[in-house]
Structures are given as structure tokens and as C-alpha cells.
Symmetry: C2
Subunit: 393 residues, 2 copies
């Protein structure tokens, strides 16, 4: 029911659209921007001058094109100077990165995470990593925000981690803990790892240009980041996408969430390791060892992988019927499982999914790999800047 | 990545916002419009004059308020004159209505539908009903479009009904058939019944003001209209929301879609009638007879209703975990089933849904009742007018 925007809002939208364009596409000529944004040359010139004045972009001549005539000036994001900090809190490790406007990972640190580490314990470790990176950043560097990707259910309003069954977190204020530890005034935005990875793959990865995407992410737990009609599906409180807790076996195996027969009890790390007779093993390397054993002819490993792959296809088919996506991306441990059992996944998908829902679905692995969580966390931080470049810059 | 709008686009947006406001809220004073749309008084005056000039709204003095001073003029939608035709094609009946701008049902017709009727056979029956209604409409009435609600999977691009298992339709071009039959130049828009009913309940029913809603609709088949982040979830081809074909029992009972164990094989009309020992019965009256028998102590009917209610709660719990909605509405036969088994629905929902996903969910029955399909079909037709009032009006 909103009326059209005011002149100020239009200018803000135009500044945001231009900055977003070079943030996603990199160096772009003024001529391309004119076409892509549907604005005239003088408007593009004025917007660029404003953004350059704020230190967010720079202009220069393009590389030699070999063509005659005066080349169109190129607008570049100030990637080395303007940056965000990104954190990823995973079951077995903590990661931190400094990511420039434009999406380049400029610096990174990785630490082991003992299972059971609380938010209060994780924050100083991550803050320490950031302080190291700050020292190696240029003197005139500007941090516009920080984003955190975490395995768990994140309340949209304030970033409280309500429940992270695989990290053992309940009501952990990781955003506030990190903000206090860093002692800086940049806002810290927290998101679920599948949501932020989906965001990154949609912005600049495998799903660029796709409006309806399911990004499935799994290790011990399984969740999805969902793009519907070009926008992130968050749900009312921010908890949308908990597909790992879609029950696939009524009154089935107990799940860490307290329910039974959840999808992740059939396709998660523990399920696969148990089925392969390796209940005592944990972590990604243990999982990769199962796929390796299956490859080398271990019958028990092969059966475990086939069963999990069948369940993977089963759940994906349900999601295809519910969302009618154009792409499903398998990330984290789901990538490895999908690659090891693609035949089972496709077979079950073909028998369960409605043909009309399935007809344009492409199955993919992430283009950004494990960096999707970090890049997506940085995108959370950049969103504020892109919404209002001159206010937040 | 879109840049801010041009002056023409802003005017179009403002005209659309004003017309949409009175379409949804009815007669509104200029003063209220100024506040609601965030535009100044002279802009509201100019927009109203343009819309009145096009015959879409009228202005007048409000009813006596008893307050001193000159009353603010009231803007009303031209409900009697500007209208859309709405059709609903259901398993057992065909309905047609003339619905005014503002959402009032001005006239309606209902016909029995023999099961098995094709689109080519249904179109002339519906067109006949419309011709009757045209004769009783005012001489200066203006039809802005027609909308069709149909039980089936509707291709977004052209309204082709790809598959309607319960109507027996495969690739039926009902929109084209109706357009040809009516012989008029108004566009005919086709939508899935659950989608359009959700649209209506969201615009002016139980879900007004809710941004994340699941509207469950069922008779023989079960589907959902989903509102996510305030917008209709359509999926890539328009087939999103086929929740009745979420498989809940792997390798379960055969479903009309060709798969097995779909949710609708546990909660649909046929499942309930079979479980109640009434496999030969069909239709809503037969279903109501089961609920009635259960009420009167028939043990077999009670067991059937309890089982179906348990499965209803089970599937809703999965959808709550996936979508984190703030409201679930039970429409069509699902309304009756929910009312007859609310205890089972809530019990299963509480044991399966994640507490964070469930905490703000309200369970509701439709406010618009059976009219939701017709009103939603009309909303489809009004959308074009509201997007660009002076072009389409």
C-alpha cells in the first residue's frame, strides 16, 4: 500500500543500485551502468561523483581495449579500503575474514573449535583473529560492519541464537558478545549459515540470476537457505528453512531437537557414520572417509551412502513440490553426500517430485565452496551500506 | 539492482497505491489517505481527481459525524460500476460471480459440475452464467478483467492447467477457452484455488496484515497458498505450494499424482471416507456426514477423524518448520477436518514443530469462507488495474 518514493528516497535508491552493481559485477564502465540501471549519463556521472566523494568507488581509465575513440570511464568498488568482517561459527572450527566491497576475501584466519564452546568463549577468539587482521589492513581502511554465520536458529530482530542443536547453543547472544569484544561501533548482524550461504550463492555464485533457489546445507544438522521470488525467505521470526526438521519418518529415530524421524536423522553426519558402522567417529574427515571407503568397495559404506542418498532425494523431492525451485544447491556435507550418491538422489527425486515442479530444476554444488558462509556473512554487513550508501559509508 | 523510478513510474505507483487503499479499506477520507500513503494533501487531491476522471473512484461528503468543522471529503471505489468476473472451478461445482472494485460480490451463479467435465465443456457453462449477470449489471458497468480459481497446477506464464488430479484435467487451456467463449477483450487470469484464496484472505480476510501465512485448502486434493515476506510464493513455473504431495509415508498408499504416501493420501476426502468405512461416498456432504457421525459417537468415524487430524497436525508441523509462518488458515474441507480434530492437530503440532518456529503461529479458519476463491480470483483480475490504473481502467 506504499506510495511512490520521494526525491530523497529516489536518490538513495539510485546510489544504492549503482554501488550494488559494482559490488556484484566489479569494475564497470559508465556506459554499461547507464544501460544496466536505465539512468541517463549525467545522472550516472553525478551518482558516481557522490560515491567517489564518500570513498566508496573510484574512477579510472579501463585497460587497453584496442578500440579507437575515447574509452568510457570505469567505476570500481574501493575493495581494499572499504570492507566488512565476516565470521563463521561451525561445529568444528571458527573462521574470520576481512572481505572487501566487491566480495574479495582480503585476509582470513581459522581456528579449531572444541565442541561445546559457548558464545562467550568463542567471541574473544574471533575478536583476536580480527585484531590480527586489522593490523595488516591499510591505514585508511574503513570497516562498514560485521556479519556472523552460525549453525542455529537466529532471531531476526536481534540476532540471538535461539537454538543450535549441533553447537549446543541455547539463547546465545553471539552478536552482542562479539560487538562488546571488538569494542568498535560497527553493527554486528547474525544469520543462519544456510541462509547466508544461499544469499552469497544468489548474489555472486551458482544461483546468480535465479529467483527460486533452495540451498541445502548440512553437517550434523541440516538446514536450507531459501530464495523465493528473488528474495530471502526468513519466516516470521527469522527461523524459516529448518528443513532438516521436516519429519520424514513418523515416530522415527530420535532427533537432537526433541522430535523423532526428522530428515537430518537420516541424512546428517551422525546417521551416515552410524549406518557405516563408525558411530564413534565425528567430523568432516570421518564423513569423507566413509565416501572413500564406499568408492573402494566397502559394502557397508556403500549401503550407508546409498540409503542416505535415497533419503536425500526423498526430502529434496518434497521441497521441490513445495517450492517449485529452479535450482537446488548442495552445500557443506550435503555436497559430498550428493556427489557420492547422485544416482540415488535423482532416482528418488524422479519418482516422488511432481513432473511440473521438477521440469526446470537444476541440481548444483556451490560455486563459492566453503567461502559461501563467510562471503554471505559479509553480504549481511554490506546490506546496510547498499541500502543507504552515504549515510552508512 | 534496479535504479529508482522515473516521474511517470512514481505517478503510476501513487495512483495504484491510492486506488489499492480504497479497494481494500473502502471509503476513506482524504485526511486518512494523506496519513496512510505519506503524501501531501495537494498530491492526494490531484491523484483522486485523476482516478475520479477515469471513473474508478468517486468523492463525496461523509456520513454525518457530529463533529464541528468542514468534514474531509471521502474517496470511494466505484464498486457498482467497475467490476471483474470471477470463476471457481471445483470438483463438484462451477461458480461465477461479478465482483466490484472494493471486493463486494455483486452477483453470483452456481452450477453443479459432473466429475470429468473438461475445460471445453466447462467454459460455455461459465460463459452462460456471465452473460446472465451482464444483463442485470448497470448499463455503464465496466469489466476490467476476469480471474479463474481452479483445483490444479497452473502455469504462471499463460494459465495453462498442467495437471488437476481431482478434476482429471491435463494441459487444459481454461483461460483461453473462457476468453474465446466470452468473446470480450478483457484478459483472463488463471490461478490455483489455494493460491487465490490465500491472496484474498491476505488482502481482506483472516490474514490481513500478516506477512507469513500458509493457507491450506483441501477437498480430494490438498494444496497451499503461501504468503512469504508479504508476497505470494509462486515458484519458478507457478506450481509452488503443492504441499499435498509432500510425501509423509515413504512407499505409502498410492496417490493420484503417481507417487506414494503423499500427505493428501492421509488427509484428503478419499482417505477420510475410506477410513470411516464409506469408500463409495464422495463429496463435501459425505465428509460432513463423517464428522457428524463422529460427533454422535460412531467409533469408526471417530477413529478416522482422529487419525486424519493427527496427520493434519503432522504435515502442518513440517510446514511450520520450513516456513516459520505467523498464521495457518484451514480452508475448504481442511476447515471441517481441523474443527473436528483440533486437539489432535495441536498435539501433533506441539510434538513435532520446533518451539521457535511455532511460538507465534495462530491457527485460523477463513474469514471469507467459501467466497475466498471467488474474491481471490477477482483480485487476480484487479491486480492489472491496480498496477497501472489509468492505462487499464
Amino acid at each position: 500500500m506504499r506510495a511512490g518514493p520521494s526525491q530523497d528516497e529516489i536518490r538513495r535508491q539510485n546510489l544504492g543500485a549503482l554501488l550494488r552493481y559494482v559490488h556484484v559485477h566489479g569494475a564497470t564502465t559508465r556506459a554499461e551502468l547507464t544501460t544496466a540501471l536505465g539512468l541517463n549519463r549525467s545522472t550516472i556521472g553525478a551518482l558516481t561523483a557522490d560515491l567517489a566523494g564518500a570513498g566508496l568507488v573510484s574512477e579510472g581509465t579501463p585497460k587497453e581495449t584496442g578500440r579507437a575513440g575515447r574509452p568510457s570511464l570505469v567505476v570500481r568498488p574501493e575493495s581494499d579500503r572499504v570492507h566488512a568482517y565476516a565470521y563463521s561459527i561451525e561445529v568444528d572450527r571458527l573462521r574470520a575474514a576481512r572481505i572487501g566491497l566487491g566480495g574479495a576475501v582480503l585476509d582470513r584466519r581459522e581456528l579449531d573449535r572444541p565442541r561445546g564452546l559457548t558464545a562467550a568463549e568463542a567471541a574473544p577468539l574471533l575478536a583476536g583473529a580480527v585484531k590480527e587482521m586489522q593490523q595488516s589492513a591499510p591505514a585508511d581502511a574503513v570497516c562498514v560492519g560485521a556479519g556472523v554465520a552460525v549453525c542455529g536458529m537466529v532471531r531476526r530482530d536481534d540476532g540471538l541464537v535461539r537454538l543450535g542443536p549441533t553447537t549446543g547453543w541455547v539463547d546465545e547472544p553471539i552478536g552482542a558478545a562479539l560487538g562488546a569484544e571488538l569494542g568498535c561501533d560497527v553493527p554486528v548482524t547474525v544469520g543462519n549459515v544456510a541462509d547466508v550461504a544461499a544469499f552469497a550463492e544468489h548474489a555472486r555464485g551458482a544461483a546468480a540470476g535465479c529467483d527460486n533457489v533452495i540451498y541445502l546445507y548440512g553437517d550434523v544438522g541440516v538446514g536450507a537457505g531459501i530464495i523465493a521470488g528473488g528474495r530471502r525467505l526468513t519466516g516470521h521470526g527469522g527461523y524459516g528453512g529448518e528443513v532438516g526438521h521436516m519429519v520424514v519418518v513418523r515416530d522415527g529415530a530420535p532427533c537432537e531437537c526433541g522430535s523423532r524421524g526428522c530428515w537430518e536423522t537420516e541424512i546428517g553426519e551422525y546417521a551416515l557414520l552410524r549406518a557405516a558402522g563408525r558411530s564413534d567417529a565425528r567430523g568432516r574427515d570421518a564423513l569423507l572417509a566413509v565416501f572413500d571407503a564406499a568408492d573402494r568397495g566397502d559394502l557397508r559404506a556403500q549401503t550407508a551412502v546409498r540409503q542416505a542418498g535415497d533419503w536425500l532425494g526423498f526430502g529434496v523431492a518434497n521441497l521441490v513440490n513445495i517450492f517449485n525451485p529452479e535450482m537446488v544447491i548442495f552445500g557443506g556435507g550435503m555436497r559430498d553426500l550428493y556427489l557420492a550418491s547422485a544416482a540415488q538422489v535423482r532416482s528418488r527425486l524422479n519418482s516422488v517430485a511432481l513432473p511440473a515442479c521438477l521440469e526446470h530444476v537444476r541440481l548444483r554444488t556451490p560455486k563459492l565452496g566453503d567461502d559461501a558462509a563467510l562471503i554471505g556473512a559479509a553480504e549481511l554487513a554490506f546490506e546496510r551500506l547498499l541500502a543507504d550508501p552515504l549515510d552508512a559509508g
